[in-house]
């Protein structure tokens, strides 16, 4: 480890820690290049601000870098843009060493702070527009929630045009050369991070970009990976492009997308799927499509789920369960935002027929809108039962187009 605290600008230094050996982050992400926990120090004429800390087991490295640049008595503010343990791990110790420092967190972070540090510690909350002063340096806060935790905020150092973006614009990419113009090619890591961390929160990304665009940004200082100083606008544009793709595709079609996904063992669930799609397709403004889950890979599943306004999933029941590809499909929602999407389930069965209700229940936990009950048919559907399937598809499509559903609770 190099103990040097790298200089980012006249008054800002990197004092974070490097984790070259990490290979899986947060269970879901592969980190072939390792990662870093970025933390920064901002020095003004009337004190110092520490911007985030590091994962607890890397505290020693963080404190060595911090001590090379300031005394604990000089620290006026500690800012946590996001309270996840990889950034708050050294907070408690830092506050012990700098009891005079004011902790600044977002309003949404208050309850998380109590969950992370099991003691009452003083803090102030910040929302968009709040400023703190270090004498000749001013830091302004921006509320950028859900990127990727509810509590996330960003901040902007006016005098040096530096955006402290939290996890936004991060990469899991270890390289002690630190700056985007000096490290290796991290473009894969930058996109991979977006896909796995920010993609479910596209609407919030676009809201945050609107806030960022109010400022002239010379450098982006994220919480993981390279510091972006060469052409910050390139990274802002990439986030805008990736977060707007779905909207662009919808605008191209100009209609709402309804997708019927199914698996079938004796063609019965397949027949149901066909008729459900036909029913849905009769509704003006809907484009209905159907997909055999046996032939979809994960990437296709994620893309189709993302662009669909309504998702109808069909599975036969085998040994009291839905089939694995149906569960695999729904597990892809971990990468996407499901709020606002309409869901429904169906399937043919031989003995017990639990699958449609199980899928319906899973979609409820995934926060789909589930306005109508699942439909299940014993073995081969009759003509009357296929008519019910047609009406089922039509009803889901009508609701997708805005029809209100009345119920008694």
């Amino acid at each position: 480890m190099s103990a040097l605290a790298a200089q980012v600008s006249d008054s800002v230094h990197f004092i974070g820690a490097f984790d070259p050996k990490i290979r899986t982050f947060d269970i879901i992400m592969k980190t072939a290049n390792g990662s870093s926990y970025n933390s920064y120090i901002v020095r003004g004429s009337e004190g110092v601000a520490i911007m985030d800390t590091v994962k607890k087991e890397f505290s020693a490295e963080f404190f060595v870098r911090l001590e090379s640049l300031c005394n604990y008595e000089e620290i006026k503010y500690i800012v946590l843009h996001h309270l996840e343990p990889d950034h708050s791990g050294a907070l408690e110790e830092l506050m012990k060493r700098s009891p005079q420092a004011k902790l600044i967190i977002s309003g949404r972070a208050v309850m998380m702070l109590k969950g992370i540090i099991k003691a009452d510690i003083p803090f102030e909350t910040a929302n968009t527009g709040k400023q703190i002063s270090l004498g000749d340096k001013t830091i302004e806060f921006l509320s950028t929630p859900f990127l990727h935790w509810p509590d996330t905020m960003s901040s902007y150092l006016h005098e040096e045009k530096i955006l402290f973006s939290g996890d936004v614009f991060g990469s899991h990419y270890y390289d002690e050369r630190l700056f985007d113009d000096e490290v290796g090619d991290f473009s894969y890591a930058f996109k991979y991070y977006y896909e796995h961390i920010m993609r479910p929160f596209k609407q919030y990304v676009l809201q945050a970009l609107n806030l960022y665009n109010r400022f002239e940004i010379k450098t982006i200082a994220p919480l993981h990976g390279p510091i972006l100083r060469t052409n910050p606008q390139y990274y802002l544009d990439k986030y805008e492009e990736w977060s707007s793709e779905e909207k662009f595709r919808k605008n191209t079609f100009g209609k709402k997308m309804l997708s019927v996904f199914y698996m079938s063992s004796y063609d019965n669930t397949h027949k149901m799927a066909e008729v459900i799609m036909e029913g849905a397709d009769t509704i003006e403004g809907i484009v209905a499509s159907m997909y055999d889950l046996a032939s979809l890979d994960e990437k296709n599943m994620i893309d189709l789920l993302e662009e669909s306004d309504a998702i109808i999933v069909g599975s036969p029941t085998i040994n009291g369960d839905a089939v694995k590809p149906a569960w695999d499909l729904l597990s892809c929602m971990a990468f996407l935002e499901s709020q606002g999407k309409i869901g429904a389930a169906f399937g043919s069965y031989g003995w017990t027929g639990e699958a449609p209700e199980m899928l319906h229940d899973r979609m409820r936990w995934l926060k789909f809108r589930l306005p109508i009950k699942p439909i299940k048919i014993k073995l081969i559907p009759t003509e009357e039962e296929l008519d019910e399937c047609f009406a089922f598809g039509k009803e889901v499509a009508e609701i997708t187009m805005g029809k209100m559903v009345e119920m008694e609770i």
Binding site: M111, T125, M404, E408, I409
Partner: protein
């Protein structure tokens, strides 16, 4: 009967005095997000567009959480803390605001 319109989900729920809005949301299949469900986390903040007088009075937990997120809008409530208190009327709620 009280009518609760969850306009973002195209749902009109006819319900009765004493029902919690969390129960209405859950049973109707609404997409309203809930986190801790005990009034600590702020996940279920929603705007009561109509009929706020038909709901239980705002409680201390709600006041604390709403102050922490920096809002002074008195039509915002935590859905996990509200219940229907009237015999009749119309309540309209939006959670995308």
């Amino acid at each position: 009967m009280v009518t609760v319109s969850l306009k973002d989900d195209n749902i009109i729920a006819h319900t009765s005095v004493g029902k919690s809005l969390r129960e209405v949301a859950r049973k109707s299949g609404a997409s309203m997000e809930f986190g801790c469900r005990v009034g600590d986390c702020s996940t279920c903040i929603a705007k009561v567009l109509k009929g706020k007088e038909l709901l239980s009075p705002i409680n201390d937990k709600e006041l604390l959480v709403l102050a922490a997120v920096g809002t002074e809008d008195d039509s915002l409530r935590l859905m996990c803390q509200c219940s229907v208190e009237a015999e009749e009327g119309e309540i309209e709620i939006s959670y995308f605001f």
